[in-house]
Each structure stands twice: as structure tokens, then as C-alpha cells.
């Protein structure tokens, strides 16, 4: 008898069986699996860093995390976007301790090494007299994020130089992302400030929830349904969930329309300027994208693997972005930001901000109640007996999707209530964990 008989690979192989709709619980609490995830998932896939509108002028920067690695993202004096590890190459000090700002250079407070805002080591105090063997400054510049690409203003980075391109990584998901990217008449603009709060949950629980869990809304968010803030027809709306390669998934997609019409109804109560705006948004979608996309009109919600969740309920809401930053197997930090349409009337953007604080924010109804789930799921999953049973993701296994609809919509379409996006999420997660360095 051996006390540690199974490798984490054996556990994952045996317990994570998306095809059966069964996901073993150990992957949510095992510390060794967590440490492996930080490597095999978080350094091998594209991670969202922020939005280009956060970096308007040369020198603008913000800090963030990739897995548990702190990074800085800047607009350099060359006007290009740069990203690098926030750790001095000399002896490891964080070179920037701010959340955001503007800087020509980052001077390490430990010994004064100075890096320009593209991460290059610019000066080393007393360099000439202390390195008889010479210091190769290029070699000791801040560790660059080797792959850094944007899609529609969304900046992503990947530590794996051999990864697929961001465009390929997003793949068919772009069809849906384009909806809110292109709908914005004046382009999307990050609202200043990011929210952060602790949540004692494994990061995959919220990621899988956003990836396609429309099923939870009437129960978890029952309070707002009872009050009429969420339609009591919600679950019966003809919406779809869609899964994509590389683990992405989305929900709340309305190929049959309806979101635009709802916006218009509200707009009419808000006055002609808003009506105009909504109509112009629709017109723009029709012009820039396809009729199908224009009809869908809003993205709904989704998760870009691994840990960026998004929602875009309509043109009267902000685009909500959520990082589930891993901080241990049973802990995460939720970081949130929002985007609004620079071209929207002031009244629309004020409404969007207000809706955000009531629904999506750390103090919003959805934020609160989802957190309660994420934490208590993690709590009830830690025990020896709990870990002998599997989570059940069998909803929609065996369901058949209308061919016509599948033809129209890129990605693997599923019913309103389905767990196929979650199965897709865990299948790709499993691939990452077992293929290791051949990925993605």
C-alpha cells in the first residue's frame, strides 16, 4: 500500500471524462494538480491582459497577472504595446508596484537597475566598474511575454513561443466577439478602474459557469427573476450555447433575434437620441458583419479559455470582463473591468455603469450570488467522500441540434440548457494537462 499511489496524470485520465459528462472532483482541490495547471494551462495558452484603450498614450501602463506571475503591459515610446514579467532580472524585485499609470521607465528600488517602458535594461548603476566580465544588458532585460497580440483591441499574451496565433486560438469565437466589438459606434473604451475581490473557490468553477451555464440563472439569480429584473421567460427563450476548440464556450446566444427589439423598447422610453443610437448600432452590425450576427446583436456571456469570462447583454449594458486569477487550488481573486461604447449617448453610458454596479459588480446581485455558489461548491468538494463522486455534466448529452441552425452559426451549437460547453472546457483542459509541453 502506498500513500501517494496515483500520479496526477492518472487521476486526470481516469476522473476527467467529458464524453461521459463526468468530471472527478479532485481536480478542484489537489495542490499538485494546481501547480501543474499553472504551468501546463497558464503558460501554454493565450491569456487576456487588458484592453488597448487602457493604454492611450506612450508610457501608459497597467499591471496584471498571468497565472501567478505578475506582469506589466505598456504602450512604449515606440507607440507599440509591450508586455513583460514584473520582476527585476537582477535579484527579482518587483519593478512596478502600481496598478496603472504612466512611466518612461521602471527603476527598481532595490539597486536602481532601470528598464525603459519596452522592458529593455537601460541602465545599471556603476555598471562599468562592477562587471569586469561585462554585463550583456540585452540578456538581462525584463522577461518579455514572447507572444503578444490583440484582437479588436483585446490584448492577449502567451508565454509559449510556439503557440498558435491568437486569431487561430479564438477561431470561430471571433464571429461572436465581433458582435460587440463592431457594434460600438465609437469603438470600445475601458472605463477607468478595476474591481478586485477574493473568492475561496477553484478558478475553474466560475470559468465553467460562464462558459455556458444558462441553466443556473433562474435558481441562482432567482431573486432578480422574482423582481422582474430578469425575465421569467429567461430559460424558455430560444437561445443557444456554443462551444469552440481550445476550450471556449458561450451562452445566451439569440440567433432568432429579440435582444435588439428589447433594446429598442427601452430606448423609446429614454428618448429619441437613444432610439437613434440603438438603430445606428443595428445598422452598423448589418453593414460591417452578417445578417446573422446583426440578428444576434449581443454576445450574451462566455468564457475564453482558461480564465477570462465576458458578458455583453445588449447595447444598453457595458461589456463585462472577469479574470478568475488563480491563487491556490481553493482560492482566487476576481478582477473585473468594463468597456463602453465611446460613441454612445451619455445617458446610455450612465445606464450601463448603473446596471453594472447592480448586476455584475462585486456588489451586484449576480456577483454576490455566483460567489456564494463558487465558494460553497469548493467547500463541499474537499472531503474524502465527496471526492469519490463526480460532478455531473450530462445535460444535453445525446441532444440533436437543428442542422440549419448549426450551418448558420459557427462553433458547436447546443441547446439553451446544456453542459456541452463545460464538457468542451474540461476536455481541452485535460488535453493541456496530459499533453504537457506539446501544447497548444
Amino acid at each position: 500500500m502506498n500513500s501517494q499511489s496515483r500520479s496526477i496524470e492518472d487521476i486526470i485520465r481516469a476522473d476527467v471524462t467529458p464524453a461521459l459528462g463526468l468530471i472527478g472532483r479532485k481536480i478542484f482541490t489537489n495542490p499538485e494538480i494546481y501547480r501543474a495547471e499553472l504551468d501546463r494551462v497558464f503558460t501554454k495558452n493565450w491569456l487576456f491582459l487588458g484592453h488597448e484603450s487602457q493604454l492611450e498614450s506612450p508610457g501608459d501602463f497597467f499591471t496584471n497577472y498571468m497565472g501567478e506571475d505578475p506582469v506589466i503591459v505598456t504602450r512604449g515610446k515606440d507607440n507599440n504595446i509591450h508586455g513583460f514579467l514584473n520582476s527585476c532580472l537582477h535579484r527579482g524585485m518587483k519593478v512596478c508596484r502600481l496598478d496603472a499609470g504612466n512611466a518612461r521607465a521602471f527603476t527598481c528600488i532595490y539597486h536602481g537597475w532601470t528598464y525603459d517602458n519596452a522592458g529593455n535594461l537601460a541602465s545599471v548603476p556603476h555598471e562599468d566598474r562592477i562587471y569586469p566580465n561585462k554585463l550583456d544588458r540585452q540578456k538581462w532585460s525584463l522577461v518579455k511575454i514572447p507572444k503578444l497580440q490583440s484582437y479588436g483591441g483585446f490584448i492577449f499574451g502567451c508565454w509559449d513561443e510556439h503557440c498558435v496565433s491568437l486569431e487561430d486560438y479564438l477561431g470561430d469565437l471571433k464571429f461572436y466577439l465581433d458582435i460587440f466589438i463592431e457594434r460600438a459606434l465609437g469603438g470600445l473604451q475601458a472605463v477607468s478602474g478595476r474591481q478586485r475581490y477574493e473568492c475561496d473557490a477553484n478558478w475553474k468553477i466560475p470559468a465553467d459557469n460562464f462558459a455556458g451555464d444558462d441553466y443556473h440563472v433562474p435558481w441562482t439569480h432567482g431573486s432578480y427573476m422574482k423582481l422582474g429584473v430578469v425575465s421569467d421567460q429567461y430559460i424558455d427563450l430560444p437561445c443557444k450555447t456554443v462551444a469552440f476548440p481550445y476550450g471556449h464556450g458561450i451562452g445566451d446566444i439569440s440567433p432568432g433575434g429579440g435582444v435588439y427589439e428589447a433594446d429598442l423598447a427601452i430606448a423609446e422610453q429614454m428618448g429619441p437620441e437613444v432610439v437613434e443610437y440603438i438603430k445606428a448600432s443595428q445598422a452598423r452590425l448589418q453593414k460591417k458583419l452578417s445578417a446573422v450576427q446583426a440578428k444576434i446583436y449581443a454576445f450574451g456571456h462566455g468564457n475564453i479559455f482558461p480564465n477570462l469570462s465576458l458578458n455583453d447583454f445588449s447595447a444598453l449594458w457595458p461589456v463585462g470582463l472577469y479574470w478568475w486569477h488563480p491563487k491556490g487550488p481553493e482560492n482566487m481573486e476576481v478582477w473585473q473591468m468594463i468597456l463602453i461604447d465611446k460613441g454612445a449617448p451619455e445617458a446610455v453610458n450612465q445606464m450601463a455603469l448603473a446596471k453594472f454596479t447592480h448586476v455584475q459588480s462585486a456588489a451586484g446581485a449576480f456577483g454576490q450570488d455566483d460567489s456564494e455558489n463558487f465558494e460553497q461548491v469548493t467547500q463541499a468538494t474537499r472531503g474524502v467522500i465527496a471526492q469519490q463522486s463526480s460532478f455531473n455534466y450530462q445535460i444535453g448529452l445525446g441532444s440533436v441540434i437543428d442542422d440549419e441552425l448549426q450551418r448558420q452559426l459557427p462553433g458547436e451549437v447546443g441547446p439553451r440548457i446544456s453542459e456541452h460547453c463545460q464538457r468542451n472546457f474540461y476536455q481541452y483542459w485535460k488535453d493541456c494537462m496530459l499533453r504537457g509541453d506539446q501544447l497548444p
Binding site: 508596484r97 502600481l98 512611466a103 475581490y197 475561496d200 431573486s223 422574482k226 468594463i338 459588480s361 456564494e372
Partner: protein
């Protein structure tokens, strides 16, 4: 140093603040709402570590934690009363500790600054604290003192939990 107000007024306003917070701690949210004016603005900004601003307090046009009018606070209370607001059903146990109350009279209203420490314990175990200060504007009405503006500046950039309570 500002001179502040008379001991009598200080006493009255402190008692008002204590009473108000006891309603929150006792879960008497409907009664609490009656202490807020119809034109209330209730604002909880995001706090960050920023350069060029030592305090790092974001504004009303930035991402906010709460940015409410009376109606929207009523909606929050209505939500709690549905029995389906799961983050608060069962209710968190809160304690609003108010200290360092400083008052300035301004043409019929009172500008009140106080420190707050709100400790929260929930279910079996979770226990955490929110620290910060509040800037209130109180107004004397026919029904007595009411809060017409509240700005809650939390000290933490990383909150210990999603916010399911009032400050």
C-alpha cells in the same frame, strides 16, 4: 483644525448614525430606507494603487462598487426580501463600528465624516472586515435627520469578498 459643532449636535448626530447602523446589523432594512432622502446618492468607489494620487480613490464616472440612487437601494432591499438572495440567505452577521465622527454644519445640512469598520461573519466560518471612512451629508427633515449623500471609501483595493451588505 475645524471647530466642529456643539456637543449637543454631535450627540444627536452620533446617535442617529448609531441607530442607523443598528438597523443594518439587525436586518431592519425597510426601516433603514426611511432614513434616506428621496434624492439620495450612495457611492462606493473603487480604490487602487495609482501614481499621482496617493489615495487612489476612483470617481463616479469610473468603475464603481456601488453608485446608487434611493430607488436602486430599494431594489437591493427588495431583493434581500425575496428569500432568494442566496448570498444573504441565510443572512450574514454584520457589525458596523462607527468611530471618529467629525461634523461640519453647512447651510442647514451636516457634512459628517466617520471611520467605519464593518466586520462580517457568515455561515460556519467566513469572517472578514471592511475598513474605511464615510462622508455623509445629513439633512434635517420633517421626519428627523436623514442621509442625503453617502460616499464610502474603503481602504482595501482587494476586497475580502463580494459585497452583499450595506455600509
Amino acid at each position: 483644525m475645524k471647530t466642529g459643532v456643539s456637543p449637543e449636535l454631535q450627540h444627536e448626530i452620533e446617535q442617529f448614525l448609531y441607530y442607523e447602523s443598528s438597523l443594518l446589523d439587525d436586518g431592519k432594512f425597510d426601516e433603514w430606507l426611511t432614513l434616506l432622502t428621496a434624492d439620495l446618492h450612495y457611492f462606493v468607489p473603487v480604490r487602487e494603487t495609482l501614481e499621482n494620487t496617493e489615495l487612489g480613490v476612483r470617481g463616479t464616472n469610473d468603475v464603481a462598487l456601488m453608485n446608487d440612487q434611493k430607488e436602486s437601494l430599494e431594489l437591493r432591499v427588495a431583493r434581500l426580501k425575496t428569500g432568494l438572495a442566496h448570498a444573504e440567505t441565510p443572512r450574514s452577521r454584520t457589525r458596523h463600528n462607527i468611530s471618529n465622527v467629525m461634523i461640519e454644519e453647512q447651510s442647514g445640512t451636516y457634512a459628517v465624516r466617520c471611520n467605519i469598520q464593518v466586520s462580517v461573519s457568515r455561515l460556519e466560518k467566513t469572517e472578514f472586515n471592511f475598513y474605511g471612512y464615510r462622508l455623509d451629508t445629513l439633512r434635517r427633515t420633517e421626519q428627523g435627520l436623514k442621509v442625503s449623500q453617502r460616499k464610502v471609501v474603503l481602504d482595501q483595493t482587494l476586497l475580502p469578498r463580494a459585497i452583499s451588505i450595506f455600509f
